[in-house]
Structure formats: C-alpha cells, structure tokens
C-alpha cells in the first residue's frame, strides 16, 4: 500500500526508513528528505492554531507525478513520513491516517524498549516486521 515509511528524529536525522522497492530507496530518501521542509513549516507554532486541538496528522505534504507524500508529527517532534503511490486512487485519506496511528503505536512500543536510547536509529527487528506489515496494508 505504502511505498516508503520513514521515521525522522527531532533533529531531522533519519531514525528508520524502509521502502517497498529496495532499488528506489535512494530516490525515495531524497523525496522524503525534501518533504521535511513542509513538515517543519507545518509544525511552526502558529498563533491561530489552538494548542489543545493540535493535530498530529499533517496531511499530504506534497505530491508528484508518481508519489503522494503524507506527514505526521508526534508531540516529541518525531516525524513520520509515508510515501504512497499516486496511482493508488482507492486509498483514502482515512486509511493513511490509520497507518500513521498504527505506526505511532509501533514506534511508542519500540521506544519503550529500555535498551533503546532516544535519538538512535531504530534497529529492532520486531519493529521492522510490524512496519513491513503496515506497508503491505494488512496491519
């Protein structure tokens, strides 16, 4: 379902990135990286937005001919970026939202591991398997 799922740390360094197609990993990395500007922009504290109703889901960051890129930011400024194939018209935004929610839970679980130091790349195999499942669309 998703082409690429990535988790980016507070300092915009990648914590985790997986792609459906390994050959396109570099290209997708470039795209995800370029999407961070918009994420940062959307995270800017805007006076208009009320703090309590802060929406973690950022919506579509940008789209290209081939991909749609969605963003999500946790309260701790961890960014989730999911890249979806543009051709997949059946995919509804709610599903993307659900993917982010699942991903967030997985991430929280992974971070709860006492052997994980915040800021390190995520190397947990269990986490990886679960994320692959989300990417496949059967989480």
């Amino acid at each position: 379902m998703a082409v690429c799922i990535s988790i980016i740390g507070k300092d915009n360094a990648p914590l985790y990135l997986t792609t459906a197609d390994m050959d396109k990993e570099l290209e997708l990395q470039y795209r995800v990286h370029a999407a961070l500007d918009v994420v940062e922009e959307k995270c800017q504290p805007i006076s208009k937005a009320t703090p309590e109703s802060k929406e973690l889901y950022l919506g579509m960051l940008y789209s290209t001919e081939t991909h749609k890129i969605y963003g999500f930011v946790t309260n701790t400024k961890i960014k989730f970026v999911i890249v979806v194939d543009s051709g997949n018209i059946a995919l509804r935004e709610n599903e993307v939202r659900a993917m982010f929610r699942n991903l967030h839970m997985l991430y929280t679980d992974a971070v709860c591991n006492p052997f994980y130091a915040p800021g390190e790349p995520l190397a947990s195999k269990k986490f990886d398997r679960a994320v692959q499942k989300i990417m496949g669309g059967n989480a």
Binding site: A13, P14, Q29, Y30, R31, H33, V38, S63, E65
Partner: protein
C-alpha cells in the same frame, strides 16, 4: 489547476508558442519597459562590465509628462530575448522589446564596422517592436591612437559627423559627445548603413555622461510608448480590431466579429491592452481601473485566457503598489547571493521570516468576503462606461481620481519601502488586498492551464505568484505554486527544464526550504548530464551539486560536518559521489581527490567496511592523477573548498611525546632541595605558586627537549582498511619555534596497531607546540591535527619546552664491554660498559676516554660512583684523580680527554672455607711439612716436637664436622671439647685449635664449590656534564659507565692461629693459606720467604709478628670504655665486654703488619692479600699482646730455654724455680701459680695421674693475692722422678676473678650511671680488666724433662 486540464484545448505543435519562459520575471515587470542590452563584437573584456553596470543602474527614470505629472518609468534590461516572445506583445505588452542598447569595443575601423553591423542586425531582428536603439562603442586608448590612425583609419573616408546625430529622436546636445579629445568619432567612422545613435568612449574613460545618455534614451522610449498609449485610449470602440494571442489566430477565422460577444471580447481585450500600456507608462492607478473593467468584460463572455491575463495584470498592478521595494530587492538579492554566509548549515530560514515581519501588518486587514470585489465592480462599472464612450485617458484619470488622487498615488509608489506599512490608506480603493492576490493568481493559473500554448505564460505566472507569496511570507503557498510548475505540460528543451528546476530551487531557497531547494538542485544537476543529453554539462552539475550541499547538511569543511553529525548519511554519500563523478568528468582531479577525501573523512562511520575499502581504492586511483594536499582550492566562481584531511586514516590510537633517552636527558646541575618539611606528606605546598601555574597548562609536557637534539613522538596507528596501507612522509606538525621534522614511511597491516616513531629536531629555543602530524596516505596529504581527532581524549596540542643545546659526549673505556648491564638503579643512563676480572688483591687500571661529539665545549664535568658494595669498600676498589680530571676541562668540540681509574680487587681474604668433609691426610701432611720446614729453620733440631704437636692438634680435630665459618662461632661449639688440659701448648681454651683444624680444601675437580668464590662488583661511573648556554641556565646531562668487575678468589686464609715465638716480643701468626686459583701460586709471606702453592692446594705459613704493646692496649681500652660509658648513658644497657676493643686493636695490628703478596706462576698476575678483618679469640689476643707476666724458669738452677732439652736422673731431686714478674701497668690480683707434671703420649692422650712416678715437694699450687707492678715473685719446689721417661711440666699462672670485687665494681658502676661518671672510675675499671676475666698465662713451651736411669 491539475495538469490534465491543460490538455483540453491543445493545439498543433506548429502554433507559434513561446519557446522558453522567462524565469526571472516577477509581477513588477509588467510595468517595465523591456530593453535588450547586448555586448557585441568579438572581445568582451572586463572593462566593458563597467559600462554594462552603468547602463543597468539607470533602471528608473522620472519623466514629467505633458500634463506635468511625474511618471515613474522602470526599465528592465535583459540580455537575451527570443523574437517569438514579441508575438505575445499584444497579449501582455511588457513582453515586447522596446529598446536596444549594444555595447562593443573596437581596436580599429574594421572592428567598428563589425560592431555596427551586429547592431543593425539586432535592430532588424526586433524591428517589429523596437522603438529606438543606442550603441556604445569603446575605442582604443589614446596611447595607440596614432598608429591606428595611420594603419586602419587613415584611408577611411570620413563621413560627416552630422550623420551621427541625424537619428537623434530627442535632440541630443552633441557637444557632450564631442567633448572628448581627440574625438574618437572623428578618427573612426561608422558605416553608412549604420543608422543608430552611437556613443564613443575611450577604453579607460569614466563614461561620466553615459547615465544621462541612457536616461535620454529611456525618455525617448517613454514618449513613443506614451503616444501609443494615447493612440490606444483614443481609439473608437467600433474601429478597434480584435487583439489575439499568437495561437488564437486560427480560432477566429471566419467568425462573425460583429457579434455582441465578439464585440465585447474585442473591447475587453483592448481595455486590457490599454491597462498594460498604462502600467508601463507609469499610470498604475489608471491601469488598476482598466484591468478591473477588462476583467469584468471578459468574465462576462468567458474569454478565460484574456481574463486570466487581466487578473494577472491586476495582481501585478496591485503588487507594484503594495511592494514597490521588490524592485530594489532585485539588485539586493544579487549582492547577497555573492557573499554567502560563512556557514551555510547554520543560516536558518527564520532569519528570512523575521525580516519580513512588517508584511504581516497587513494580516488584520484580511477580509474574506466579496467586499473588495464589489468595490472593484463599482469602479469597473465606471470604467466600462468610460471605455464604451471612448473617453480619453484624461477622462479616465479624472474618473479614477474620485477614489484617490492619481498624482499622489503614483508618487507614493516611489516612496521608500520602509513607509509602505503606513501607505495602505493612500492606496487606491480598487487595489487588490494582499490576501486576494493569492486567489487571483490561482484562478489565473488554473485558467491558463486550460490553454496548452499558454503553458509558458502559466509557468511564468506561477513563478510570479510564488515571488509575491514569498513577499507575503506564505511559504506553504509558495510551495504550492512551485510544486504546480512541474505539472505544467510544456514542451521545452532539456536546458530549459534544467533552468526551471534551478529557478524553482532558488525560490525554495528564498523561503528557507533548504531541503526542497537542494532536492531540485540535485535534480537539475542530474538533468544536465542525464543519458541522452547530447552535450552534458558537467561543470553545471558540479556547481549545482556543490550548491545543494547545505540542503543535505553538508558543509565544505569536513570538521564542521563531523561536528554536526546530522543529516541523512545515505543521501550525503550519494551526493558526494555525484560531486566526485562530476569533478572527475570535468577533469578536475584535484577537486575529485578533495571530495573523495572529504567523503571518506566525513562519512566513514556510515559506510560498511566494503564501501570503505572500495572508496579508499577509488581515492587512491583518483589521487594517482592529482595528489591531494591540504590547501584550500578556489573554484572559478570564487568558492573556496577548504582542505579535507584524512585524520583517521590511519586511525591514531594514541600519541606520546617521548622524553629524550636517559643519558641525553637534561637535568638540573644542582638539584633543588625539596622543601618538603619534616613530614613525609604535607598538604601545605611551600612553593605552591609554581605548581599551580604548571597545572594550568595541562598539555604541558613535564620534561624538556634540547635544541638541536633529535626528539621523538610515538604514535600508535591502526589501519582500519582491510588492505595494506602505506603511509609515507609522516611528519610532526608543530607550531611555535622552528622544528625540523624528519619524514617517516610506514606500511600498516590491516587492523594491527602499529607503533610509529616520528623524529624531529628543534632548531630554536622556546616553547614547541605539537599539533599533530601530517600523513601521505592513499595519495592524499593530510594534516592530522589532534584537535580534529574525535572520539579520543586528545588535548588540542602538546607543549614542550626546548632548552638551549647541551654538549654531548661519548665515553670509551680501555676495558672490554659487557653484554649485560648492571641491575643498579638508573641503569638507563649507561652508555658504555667495562668489564674486568681481577683476582682478589690484584690491581689494575682503566683508561676512560671522554669525547665531545657536539659543537659545544664541555665546561662542566662531575663524576660520581655508585655501586653495589659499601662505600668504604668502593673507595678502595675505585680510585680516581678528580683534580687531574678537572684540570683537563673544558673539552673542546670533537676532542677528547682521558683519565685513569685505578681498580683494586678488594676482598676479604680472611675467611675460612666451609668444609664438608674432614681434612684429607694429604693436606694435613702438607701443612705439617710446611710447619716442619719452618720450625726446622727456626729451631734447628726441634723437629719431632713440632711435628708431634701439629699432628696432634690437627688430627685430633680433623674428624670433627666443621660447619661454622668464623673462629668466633667455632669457639662456642667446641668449647666443651677443648679442655685446657688437652692442649699443652695452648695458653687457653680458645677456638684457635678448631680454626686450624677446620682447614680443609674442597676435593680437586669439584667445580661446584669453587665458582661461589667469585664476587661481582657492579659500579656506575656517573658523569654529569654541561656547557654553553644551557649551563648558564643550570642544565646538564648525565651518562654513566657501567663497571662490571669480577673478583676471583686468589689466596685465601682459611684459618689462623697465633703461636708464641721464640722471643717474647714476637709471636707467630700461623696462617693456612689456600690457593684458590687454577695456577701455581708463589706466596711471599715475609720479607724474604716465599712458598709455592699448587693450584687448589693450601699450606700453612708462620709469620713472625711483633707483639702489640701494652700501651696500645690500655689506650684502646680506655677509649672504648669512654665510648661505652656514653652509650651506657644513652641506652642504659649493660656494659659490653672490653675484649672487643682489644680484639679490634689486635686485628688491626696484625693487618697493618702482615702483607702477603702473591704471584701466579707463569703470569704476571700478582696481588696483595691483606689480613684485614682477622678475628682473634681472647686466647689469641693474650698471645698477640705483650704478656703482663714475665717468666723466668730454671730447672736444677739452669734457666730453661725454649726447645731446649733437660735431662735428669730418676730418683734424684730436681729444683724447679719459677719466678713471675708483672710487666703490665696495673697490679695483678688473685693469681694462682700451678705446676703440673704430665706425660704426653703423643697420641692425644696426656696422663696427669703421675702419683707413682713423680713427687713434688713444696706446693705445686701457690696463690699470689697481689702482684704489684714490676714486682717479682719466686716460687721454688723440688720434683723427684721415680721412673725414667719423658715428662712434661706445665707451669701456668691463672688469675681468678674475684666474685665480690667484680660485683662491687659493677654495683659501683650501676650506682654511678646517672651521675657523672668520674674519670677515676673509668681508669679503675679499665685497670681491673685482668680481674674481670679469667686469664691463664702459661710458660710456653712446656718444660720437657727426660728422665734417665741412674
């Protein structure tokens, strides 16, 4: 506004569409006059750049129009303009090229002609739209005018100068041109077909009037434009023709142009066109109104394309009023882009946001209702009426003046940007609000997208919108507009696509979207060289990739990247590899090497080992073409690429600054006494000031280096690569004083830590800062500074103090060197060694040569000796003449001095050898023989006696196991057996007998016991030396010579005894001397007597020695007593025996007098054995000292001589007269004189039970209570022998100590311990020596009486 909408109304490719968009355009350019500024001619020197700049500076001209209103006219200079774009001039008038300026340089007439030709051809090219043109020519400087006139211009026919001014549309004052002298235009003439106005300048001319000329030119353009505008405004509605966009030409063929909608279309388009012209002519407010009305008209009939154009125009007009400062920022941007921030990584987009805070002032004004629209409607109603009535522009002006004074509004647009916040009130009411611009642009773009041929218009509109959004600080909208650009389906060439990417990336940069900008830059970079590109431009790729660095958090400085440690490693590696590839394609091997070095240095941690080694090999290949060196590279565009150093290849694990070798280490000549006070540890630092200062400099090395002295630093390096790594030219990087570093090459095996020592010589005196080292690995020279090495606890540098040069010496000895150095302390300073084997008692000399190897004289030299033997012994072994040595100083450079060391094999010769078995018969016989010979010589005929005695004594005790080594100890163990009666010839029960008896030699060939005798003396001669300036500062060096002396046993005195001599003033010292060498030894024991001893054999020698006088004894005793009293006072212990002092005295007495010299047969090895340290028992002492009793014995009235034979007959009485006189200084008390006869069976048995054989008349035992000094006592008795035989008489005088008196004396002493002891007491006590101990004085030898039958 999706891309697919644009497919709706596409037309054939044959349609004239704009070939390429003008990416630089912004909204404000709608109001500018387009002027082509071109350099012509073959050469375009830098000097012309000045002229270009001057022309460009004239971008704004204020012109008073016919009604007296000041018009603000803006000019946009472009360098290139496609002719097709002019076709869109009806659609948007600012696309028309109105003016032409060429700038050229010529050297001669031919070149001038060419310039003119080019100018003319340009004119022809744009003839459709061009209003006017100018040419600026730079001629040769006046210096070489003269030649040119003759050569080139001489035969040229001069056209009249008026030709130049013919075309002056505005009457130029020609004298400004003609000011130059000599006038260029007089020297050179333009061709006749050149019909433009030209300005001639010398090359170095300041062109001061150029600006005014250009302003004049713009005036000209304006007036033409103004006339066109007026023409347009005065046109009758009925007469106007339909304006068409280039691609629309076919659409309206055959249509009824008079239909209502088409009429409206025509009117709307004309209104829009007029608005465009008004905008260009500086009538912004007018233009606003016209645009509104055009919008209204066109919207009504659904002419979407032109509606979009009108809306865009509306936005532009509003933007001109809202953001007049954008014009200035255009030039400003150029400046900022030139001087990039020092650190692109740290420049934050926030800066940009903050600077535009003023724009947000408009935010509260936002109204999201149709109110402004309604307002606009109202004004357009007025305007439509105006246009429909074909009113003049002036009427329009009056119309619009109802809402605001046009004069003031146009003037406000020129006021500075700082005031624009307060300006909103002065703006015309029909202006678009800043918030509305977004919507208008959006709509316009959507509409444009419906027309395929208008794709370029759409692209440009999107860019313009984005720029406006940037101004409004709405980055998300910017992103949206920019993103949209890529959906526009434009058939354009690859370079154009790339250009588009670059422009977009630049805009992203402006809103602080560094990553997006970098993304597109990267994309553009790849496009330049993508496959299928016929002429790939690697230099552009390289430039773009380098520019995109900041977006990926890369900096050109590797240390910055490492410190940041952020960013996406995968992308960074990919980007760097791209840069390397680009640099390589460009043929810039230096850059490629640099970037590869950078890649390895910064991304090492993010690469797999395989990648690491692959890239390392690549680097090696790259650097083979161009060696990398740590110098900044400067690109053509001025970018400086800082050096990249491979600090961790090889990986330095630690770096240790080495002290000099111990023997070269500088020391203080005088060691300052540590003022530690009386405590071992004290927290009080008396010189704490110094110490604290030292602590401040943590990197300070505690030791010193010496000028001109090779110093070293040890590195431990690890090669992280799986391949062998050759690191060549390793040197130390230093700062401070001059340091000559020696290069070092090392080959590192994979993953094995290797220790490398780097050498160098400090040339100057002062502080040296060691910053790191430089390497040459993988073909790259790197400066590896400690401060740049991460992950290890290195200080940023090490500081070493270098002191002035010290001399350096080398030392040689005349003795052979040893293989092993001594185990003495500070053996590290030993530079040479000497070994010597000496027999005990042998003397030798050693010549030590000190050579000064340095260019400095040795002015100070000091020698001290330390060894493993006691100081006393050491002094005996080594003797140096210090004075002689000092007199030889100074040692001049490269010269040497010698000095002699005398070495003596000092040893303890008096040492009985431990025997494991009884003395062999053989050895006994030897001893006996020796003694016998001796005695024979001395006594003549007394052989049997002596033989008997010696045999007796030695055989009697030889069977006893003897494990003790000194006679003193033997005394205790054998006391029991040594009954005084046993030894007739002895004066006491001393251990003399066992000591003789103990003599035994180890069996010949038993090596095990012999090797133990050798003694090793290890000594160090420490030489402290200094000279030159360093000596003034108190530094010196210390080196040492190690002496290894093996002392072999030579002659050894294994046992000794004291025998009375024939004369009472002498005694015989009987020594058992054994030859422990392997050679025959000749022993010279008295003046003229010598004896040969076989190897490993021993013999007994008697040495007559003078007795120790009584005076000496008394003196020694008194001295010791005094000492004892002192000790007693201090320690309150019991008095020690007085005999110690006497024994010492006697021992010394003997040692002084007896010197046994030996010579090894067949060699010249000789030595002296001293008897130093001989220990005597008290019995021996009695013999050694002069006896206090003098015996006079007569038998049958004949005085008894020693060794003499007395014969008497059995049954006859014989008178034995004994007289004793006291020779000592003190009176003797309680003496008992005893006379006993006995028979000696000569087998060790002595029979005292002679009651049946001898009878003594008269007491055999006489008590003498007191014998005064010099007094004599006589005793006479008579003996009758009953049977014949051989009898012996032992006569002895025994002093029994008086218990009471001794006790009282002791008690007295005890009492007097505390108070001062009186001298009389001491003397008294000393005098009572003989009373305290039991002494036996015998008459020696015993009288032998042979009784014969009568």
């Amino acid at each position: 506004m999706r891309a697919n909408v644009s497919q709706m109304l596409t037309h054939g490719a044959s349609e004239p569409i704009m070939s390429r968009p003008d990416y630089e355009q912004n909204a404000l350019h709608h109001g500018c006059l387009l002027v082509l500024l071109r350099g012509v001619g073959p050469s375009k020197p830098r000097s012309l750049q000045k002229a270009f700049d001057k022309v460009r500076r004239v971008s704004n001209v204020k012109i008073n129009d016919s009604t007296g209103i000041t018009r603000d006219i803006w000019v946009r200079y472009i360098h290139d303009h496609p002719v097709e774009n002019n076709d869109w001039g009806d659609f948007q008038t600012h696309r028309r090229l109105l003016g032409l300026i060429t700038i050229g340089k010529f050297e001669n007439q031919t070149e001038l002609n060419e310039l003119c030709r080019q100018h003319e051809s340009l004119k022809v090219r744009y003839s459709g739209t061009l209003y006017d043109s100018r040419a600026i020519f730079f001629g040769p400087s006046s210096a070489h005018v003269a030649e040119n006139i003759n050569s080139a211009g001489g035969d040229q026919h001069f056209t009249d100068a008026s030709n130049l001014t013919i075309h002056d549309s505005v009457n130029l004052n020609s004298n400004s041109v003609t000011n130059h002298c000599p006038r260029l235009e007089e020297e050179y003439t333009t061709p006749s077909n050149f019909k433009a106005q030209a300005f001639f300048y010398r090359e170095q001319d300041s062109c001061s009037d150029l600006e005014s000329h250009i302003a004049e030119f713009i005036h000209a353009l304006f007036w033409v434009l103004e006339s066109k505008r007026l023409d347009r405004s005065r046109e009758k509605v009925e007469k106007v023709s339909l304006l068409l966009a280039p691609f629309e030409k076919r659409d309206f063929v055959g249509l009824d142009m008079d239909s209502r909608s088409n009429r409206k279309r025509t009117v709307g388009r004309v209104t829009k066109n007029l608005a465009d012209l008004s905008l260009q002519a500086g009538l912004v407010v007018d233009a606003l109104g016209l645009y509104h009305s055009a919008c209204e008209t066109l919207r009504a009939i659904g002419d979407l394309l032109w509606l979009s154009a009108s809306e865009e125009g509306l936005c532009s007009a509003s933007a001109i009023l809202l953001y007049p400062h954008l014009r200035e920022s255009e030039t400003l941007h150029r400046n900022t882009s030139l001087q990039d921030g020092p650190s692109p990584l740290r420049s934050t987009p926030e800066k940009w946001r903050a600077s535009d805070a003023t724009v947000k002032v408009h935010a509260p004004e936002h109204q999201h209702n149709s109110h402004p629209d309604a307002q606009g409607m109202a004004s357009t109603v007025q305007m439509t009426s105006a246009s429909s009535s074909c009113s003049s522009v002036s009427s329009l002006l009056t119309n619009s003046s109802t809402s605001g004074t046009p004069s003031s509004s146009s003037s406000t647009s020129t006021i500075s940007a700082a005031q624009h916040g307060a300006r909103s009130s002065e703006l015309p009411s029909n202006i678009l609000k800043p918030d509305e611009l977004h919507g208008y642009y959006r709509r316009a773009i959507i509409n444009y997208s419906k027309y395929g041929p208008a794709a370029i218009i759409e692209t440009e509109a999107a860019l313009k919108a984005a720029r406006i959004m940037i101004e409004q600080n709405r980055p998300l909208d910017v992103a949206m507009f920019l993103q949209n650009i890529f959906f526009i389906n434009v058939t354009m060439s690859e370079p154009e696509r790339v250009k588009r990417l670059e422009v977009v990336s630049d805009l992203y940069h402006q809103i602080g979207y560094r990553r997006k900008a970098a993304f597109f830059q990267h994309l553009a970079a790849l496009k330049y060289v993508q496959q299928g590109n016929p002429n790939p431009d690697w230099s552009q790729t390289y430039r773009l990739m380098l520019e995109s660095f900041s977006g990926y958090l890369l900096s050109l400085d590797p240390m910055e990247v490492i410190d940041n440690a952020a960013g996406w490693p995968a992308l960074q590696i990919d980007l760097l590899q791209g840069v390397i590839a680009a640099a390589r394609r460009l043929g810039q091997s230096a850059l490629a090497t640099r970037h590869m070095t950078f890649l390895l240095q910064t991304q090492w941690a993010h690469m797999t080992p395989t990648e690491q080694s692959e890239l390392s090999v690549q680097l090696q290949n790259l650097s083979a073409q161009c060696e990398g060196s740590p110098v900044p590279l400067v690109l053509e565009n001025g970018t400086v690429i800082p050096p990249a150093n491979l600090t961790d290849l090889p990986y330095c694990m630690d770096l240790v600054v080495r002290d000099l070798p111990a023997h070269l280490r500088p020391q203080r000549i005088k060691i300052v006494k540590a003022d530690s006070g009386p405590f071992l540890f004290t927290p009080i630092h008396l010189n704490s000031m110094d110490r604290r200062e030292k602590k401040k400099e943590k990197n300070k090395i505690s030791f010193l280096w010496v000028q001109n002295n090779l110093s070293e630093v040890t590195l431990r390096l690890r090669n992280p690569l799986p391949i062998e790594l050759t690191v060549s030219d390793m040197r130390l990087l230093t700062n401070g004083i001059v340091f000559e570093s020696l290069p070092q090459t090392v080959i590192l095996q994979p993953h094995v830590p290797t220790t490398v020592t780097l050498h160098g010589t400090p040339i100057e005196v002062g502080q040296l800062e060691i910053q790191g080292y430089s390497t040459h690995a993988l073909g790259v020279k790197s400066n590896c500074r400690l401060k740049n090495m991460r992950g290890r606890k290195f200080p940023p540098n090490y500081l070493v103090d270098v002191i002035p040069a010290l001399p350096r010496i080398s030392v040689k000895t005349s003795l052979p060197q040893t293989a092993t150095f001594s185990q003495l302390a500070s053996s590290d300073i030993v530079i040479t060694s000497a070994s010597l084997t000496l027999y005990n008692g042998e003397s030798s000399t050693c010549i030590v040569t000190i050579t000064n190897d340095s260019p400095l004289p040795v002015e100070h030299l000091e020698i001290s000796i330390s060894s493993n033997v006691e100081q006393e012994v050491q002094k005996k072994i080594f003797i140096i003449d210090e004075k002689e040595l000092q007199s030889k100083l100074p040692i001049q450079p490269n010269s040497s001095i010698d000095f002699t060391v005398h070495i003596y094999g000092e040893a303890d010769f008096v040492c009985p050898i431990v025997s494991q078995r009884a003395a062999s018969v053989h050895s006994n016989s030897t001893v006996t023989a020796a003694l016998q010979a001796d005695y024979a010589g001395a006594t003549m005929g007394a052989g049997p006696y002596s033989l008997q005695y010696s045999t007796l004594s030695s055989s009697g005790h030889a069977s006893l196991p003897s494990r003790v080594s000194s006679p003193n100890q033997q005394q205790t163990s054998y006391n029991r057996r040594n009954d005084p009666n046993n030894l007739s010839f002895r004066s006491s029960t001393s251990g003399g007998a066992p000591s003789l008896a103990a003599l035994s030699l180890p069996p010949a060939g038993t090596q095990g016991s012999t090797h133990g005798y050798g003694q090793h003396v290890e000594a160090q001669f420490r030489v402290k030396y200094s000279g030159g300036e360093a000596m003034q500062q108190g530094y010196c060096r210390q080196c040492a010579i190690s002496f290894n002396i093996e002392l072999l046993p030579s002659a050894q005195i294994t046992s000794w005894d004291v025998l009375p001599a024939e004369i009472p003033s002498q005694f015989y010292l009987v020594l058992d001397v054994s030859n422990l060498t392997a050679q025959e030894m000749s022993l010279n024991y008295t003046n003229n007597k010598s004896i040969l001893i076989e190897a490993k054999e021993s013999c007994r020698v008697p040495i007559p020695v003078d007795r120790c006088s009584l005076e000496q004894v008394v003196a020694a005793r008194e001295a010791e007593y005094a000492e004892n009293m002192e000790k007693d006072l201090c320690y309150r212990t019991q008095l020690l025996s007085f005999s110690d002092s006497i024994s010492k005295l006697c021992s010394e007495h003997i040692a002084e007098r007896v010197k046994i010299s030996w010579l090894l047969a067949g060699t010249d090895i000789q030595g002296i054995a001293s008897l130093h340290g001989i220990v005597l028992t008290s019995a021996m002492i009695d013999l050694t000292t002069v006896s206090p009793l003098e015996w006079t014995v007569s038998f049958q009235n004949t005085p008894v001589q020693p060794q003499s034979e007395i014969v008497c007959a059995a049954g006859q009485s014989a008178i034995l007269n004994v007289s004793v006189s006291n020779q000592s200084a003190q009176p003797l008390r309680n003496l008992v004189l005893t006379i006993k006869f006995y028979q000696d069976y000569l087998n060790g048995m002595e029979n005292y039970n002679l009651d049946t054989r001898v009878a003594i008349s008269g007491p055999s035992r006489v008590s003498i209570p007191l014998l005064q000094k010099h007094a004599q006592i006589q005793h006479e008795c008579t003996a009758i022998f009953f049977t014949p035989g051989r009898f012996k008489a032992s006569i002895q005088c025994c002093s029994k100590p008086q218990e009471t008196s001794t006790q009282s004396a002791r008690g007295q002493l005890l009492e007097h311990k505390m108070p001062a002891v009186q001298v009389s007491d001491i003397v008294g006590s000393a005098a009572s020596y003989h009373e305290q101990q039991e002494h036996i004085w015998k008459f020696i030898p015993p009288i032998e009486v042979t009784v014969i039958e009568q």
